[in-house]
Symmetry: C2
Subunit: 150 residues, 2 copies
DNA sequence: CCGGATCCGTTTCGATACTG
DNA sequence: CAGTATCGAAACGGATCCGG
C-alpha cells in the first residue's frame, strides 16, 4: 500500500496502513474472539477467505510483528498463530469497533450483556481479555472464555 | 462487500464492513484531525485519492449515515461534509487507532504530548474532541483545535 | 473555479484448481 | 493440511469532460 508511504503526522495512519484491508483484522478477530489458531481454523471462518489471500495476510501480519507463527507441539504438521505484544495491544481497538458496531448496526446480534459490561467497565475487562488471549483463550469461545467469567 | 452478508454474532463485524477499505476511514480522519469539510479539501490529502474514488466513498459514507452533506452557505458551489452522530461515535475508535500507531509505528511522528494526554485522560479528552468536531473544529488544525486547548 | 461523472490502461484481488 | 499457480473480476489512478 504505497498510498501511505508519504509521511504524515497523523497518528492513525499506521493503523490504517495495517488494517485498511478487509481481511487482516478479521484474522485478529478470529484469534481474540474465537480462539482460532491454525490456518485451517481461519479458513473455516464464515467469511470464506480464499486460501491464497489467507496465506498472504498471515505472512503480512507476521512481517508486521502482529502475529507470530510457532510449530504446534502436539501435531507436527500444524503451525500455531498467536498474537505478539503488538497484536495484543489491538484489543482496545477491537473493543471500540465492537461497541460502535453494537450501537449502530441495526441488525446486530451482539451479546447485549457482553457489550454492556464492556462499555461500563473497560478498565477491568480489557486486561482480562488480554490475559485470557495470552493464554490461548478467547472472548466468546472455549471453557476459559471471557464471557463465561462475567 | 458481500463477504460479511453472512450474519455472525461477532460485534466488530459491522465496523469491518464499513471500514475494511483503505479510503473510508481516511475521510473521517481528515474531518476529525484536520477539519476538512469539502470535496476539494479531501482531494488535497497527501494520499492522493482519485476523484472518482473520493466521490464513491463520500456517497458510501453518506449512505451509511456516517457523514451528511449540506450546501455551503458562504459559497453556493460547494458542499460541506460533516459527521453525523454515528460518525462522531467513531472518535473513540480513531483514538485507539492513534494510540496503537503511536506506540508501534517505529517512525511515527505523532505529537508526543497529545498522545500522552489522550492515553492518560480519555474520559476528559474524548468529549472535548467530540464537541470540537461537532462545531466544525478539529484535533490538530485551526484556531479552536483540541491540541491548542491542552 | 468547484464538484463530480465517464472512460480507459494498469494493477491488485480473489475464487478455483492444483500440489507437496 | 498448508500452501502455490492460474486466470478472470474488480478496483484503482489518471486524464478528460461537463454542469453550475
Amino acid at each position: 500500500m504505497k498510498r501511505l508511504d508519504v509521511k504524515s503526522h497523523c497518528p492513525i495512519n499506521y493503523a490504517l496502513e495495517c488494517f485498511g484491508d478487509p481481511w487482516s483484522l478479521l484474522i485478529v478477530r478470529d484469534i481474540v474472539y474465537f480462539g482460532k489458531k491454525t490456518y485451517g481454523e481461519f479458513l473455516a471462518s464464515e467469511e470464506r477467505i480464499a486460501t491464497n489471500v489467507l496465506a498472504n495476510r498471515l505472512a503480512d501480519l507476521e512481517k508486521k510483528g502482529i502475529i507470530k507463527k510457532c510449530p504446534c507441539d502436539t501435531d507436527k504438521r500444524k503451525d500455531i498463530y498467536m498474537l505478539t505484544e503488538r497484536g495484543l495491544d489491538l484489543i482496545p481497538l477491537l473493543s471500540e469497533m465492537a461497541l460502535w458496531g453494537a450501537k449502530h448496526d441495526v441488525d446486530t446480534d451482539a451479546p447485549k450483556e457482553w457489550v454492556e459490561t464492556l462499555s461500563r467497565d473497560k478498565e477491568h475487562i480489557l486486561p482480562l481479555v488480554r490475559t485470557t488471549v495470552e493464554k490461548g483463550g478467547a472472548v466468546f469461545m472455549g471453557p476459559n472464555s471471557v464471557v463465561s467469567k462475567l
